[in-house]
Structures are given as C-alpha cells and as structure tokens.
Amino acid sequence: MTASPDLQPASFRDPSGFLFRHQGQLFRQVNESYREHYDLLIASGLYNKLTSAELLIEHEECGLELARTPGAYKILRPVLVPFISYPYEWCFSQLQDAALLTLKVQKLALEHGLTLKDASAYNVQFVKGRPLFIDTLSFEKYPAGRPWAAYRQFCQHFLAPLALMAHADVRLNQLSRLHLDGVPLDLASRLLPARTRLRFSLLSHIHLHARSQKRYEDKPLPAQRRPMGCFALRALLDSLESAVKKLAWRPRGSEWAEYYDHTNYSGPAREFKMRFVADALQRLAPACVWDIGANTGFFSRLAAERGILTMALDIDAAAVEKNYRECRREKNEHLLPLVCDITNPSPGIGWENRERASLLERGPAAVVLALALVHHLAIANNLPLAMIAGFFARLGQALVVEFIPKEDSQVQRLLATREDIFPAYHLQGFIAEFSCYFQIERSEKVPGSERTLFLLRTR
C-alpha cells in the first residue's frame, strides 16, 4: 500500500483493508485477502443482525472503480460518524459502555461462526448518544478451538483503564493517551491498590495475566497448543463481562451531589443567559456546537434539544460522568459529553502524530459556547486575552462568550490566593482583543451582575 494523501492516517495496521477519502466522502477498501471473512459476515446474517440492532456501523457497497490499490475485493461507503472521539476523552461510563458493546458484538459474532480479531477501544465511537462498533473488518471466521486473539487487547484497552479509574484514580484514563495499544497490564497491576487482588476478576484478568505476560516475554507460542473449546471461550467472555459490569466509579459523597449547585446561577441571571444562548442558536442555526467548560451540560442542552450535534467538553471527569449518565437516561441523540482540558486539548498522537487527530483537527465547530470560562483561562491559567481570542477564532466560526470582570465573586475567588498580575483584564481589554478576530453581533449585560454576554462572528 503506497501512502496517498486521501488515505486515512488511522487505518493502516490491518492488511484486510483501509479507509480513504474521495470527493469529501469516506470509503473503505476491502482487500482480496479478506474476501472469505467479509462474505461470511454478510452471508451468516451477522451484519444484518448487528446493524439492525444499531451495534455496527452500516455501509453500502460501491463500484470497484474507486479502488486505491490493486487487490481490492469490495469498496464500501460506511455511514459517516459525525464526530470522532477517543477513549482518553471518555468518562468512566462511556468506556464501560464501549467495553460492553465490544463483548456483545463478540458474543453475537461467535453465534454466527465469526470472531473479533481485535478489541481496540478505537473500534467504538459514540453515535446518536450510544456506542457503535465502527470497524467492519474486525470480524473473521472463527476457527474452532482457537482462543480469542484479542483477549490481551481487550484487557489493555478496556479492563485495565476501567479498573484504574474505579479503584485508583479516575484521571488515570489519561494513560490511554500515552499508550496507544491500551494500558500495559504490568503497569496497571502496579498502580492498582492491593485490595483489587481480592477480587477474582481483577486478580485473574489483570494481576495474574500481567505476571503471565512477564513470564512468557519474548517466548514463542508453545508448539503443542491445547485447543480452547467454544464453551470455554464463551465462559471467558462472560467472565470479562461480569468483570466490567462489577466496576463502578462514583465521585465521593457531597462533591457529587452538590456538583452543579455551587457553579450554577439562579434566578433571573440564568434565565437571561439561557435566552441569550437560545437566541444566538436560533439566529445562527449551526450544524455543530462545541460547549467548552460545559460542566454537566446545562447550556449544551439548549443546542442539543434543537437537534444540533453538540459536544459538551469539560475538564472535570465527574461533571462529564454526570452529563453522560443523564444523556443516557434521557436517550439524548445529539449531545456528546467529553473530558477535555481546553488549556491542553488532545494532541495528534500515534504514528507521525496523525493516527489520532488533535481536537483542533476535528473542528472547527460552527458555534463555540464559552460561558463562565474566560476568567478561568485568563486568571487561573495566566493566558493573555489576545491568545484566548485567537484560539477561539480557530475553534469555531461563531462564539457565544461571557466576560466576568474582577468585581465578580467568582473571579475574586480565583484572585484570593494569588497576586493580581492582570491589569489588562477588564471589559474594554476583552472587547479590544476579541475585536481583532471577531465582529460583535450582539452584547448584553446580564441583569443583576457585572457580567456581559457576547455573540461574536469570526472576521
């Protein structure tokens, strides 16, 4: 396969095929080497079963004239995933749901005489609020007696980060950003508290599994291989499923319960802010909104309920967790909560820094919401207003932003523990810097406060 500019940089490891773009559309080439498996996926009824249950991405077959390399068997046009997100941007429950989907797909595959040949978390995307398996080429004919080739990968991509989040610290999900093929099990085993050894599922699938990996490091597969029956394989999958289901993460006590309350506004100020945001969305009618610093997604929902695809980004895993559970409960198809530190957004990682796209590469958004955010960036993170304005202009085509001056109690709180080295942080300074990148469409003072809301369009 020769490198071509329209080949998707995340799709090169599996020789069965690859993704490419043609005239702005995404296609998947299936190679001759995968013919037997692809035909079985379709003929066994597995494809229909999975797609009708909305577990696997749908595709249509196109003409072979689009083939990018010799040896093409089929060209598929998969349904487009509107926004690609990555496991290190998911909260605990999102990763857990993705893990359970992978196991469900594998179990159904076995019933149809196929098996998953990989179990990468990157094979799952969130579409219409639910996890969806997106790699059509992950299925292969199940040779009776063969163990699950993807067992190691499943433990590294799903079980290890979930166990670390549940039993050590939720921030350890970021290890997936460092380790592209999942969290190494020896690392997970060292980081997990000793009490996890008392749980059979974690003792076996992580701690003993890690020890076995160490013991057989650099050793070839044994010449005499014992077959593993389908029943044993189903038992293994059942064990993994119950291991994943038993894991739970819940931020401690009051922090969780009071979460939104102390960051929220009440009364007329909130009403006014809601109306301002709703009017802006009405006026702009965007296709996609990114709510930066979305907390539990209160304002994101104003966009989502209008049928607009909305990303609710927040640095706080607890807020994102709460938002996702609420989305799941209300079956929200338009809102995708993601963990994101906007002062250090996901970079391009993997081979050539292109395998997983940076957050900026996945934009721009039609509208960015930045409510009660700028003071955090400017005061808590020492970011000059000019740089914040420049960044927002790259992030989206229009911006709904709130300026909170130093007199406000929220800013006073940030300044309480530090020297005020921000002489340029005032309304006039904000307008001057943001006017370099944006045109002011509308600005309104929030009643009963010193805050100002702006609707801006990039120049």
Binding site: S16, P147, A149, Y216, L236
Partner: protein, 72 residues
C-alpha cells in the same frame, strides 16, 4: 500396498509442509504468548462457574415456566 504407500507419502508431505509453513494462527495483532497461555488456564477455571451459572439459569427458567403454567 500402493494405495497405502501413496497415503503415507501424502501424510508425510502434509506434515513436512505444516512444519515448513506453520499454520497462520492469528490475525494481524499479536495475541502475546503470556496472554495466550494464561487465557487457556483462566478459561478452564471460569468455564466451571459458567457451567454452574447456566445450569441454575436453566433450572430457574424451568421453575418460572412451571409456576406460570400453574397460575394459568
């Protein structure tokens, strides 16, 4: 005799070919020897509890159906 000789030749050739070209056991990802070996062991363990689980599940279903019929 000839047939036996032929069969022997075919079998020996098959063995020789299998040794020269080992069967492709896995797909494009490395299952890891440690993971492979461990999977066989742990699967044997969990298969026992899985069998028990299925057994109880079947009994429960049977009883539920039985009571449902009686109620009808």
């Amino acid at each position: 005799m000839n047939a036996r000789k032929n069969a022997l030749t075919v079998a020996m050739t098959a063995v020789a070919l299998a040794l020269i070209f080992p069967r492709r056991v896995y797909g494009y990802i490395d299952p890891g020897t440690g993971s492979y070996v461990f999977q066989l062991i742990i699967a044997a363990f969990v298969a026992v509890s899985f069998a028990v689980k299925i057994f109880w599940h079947n009994i429960k279903n049977f009883l539920l159906r039985l009571f449902a019929k009686k109620e009808q």
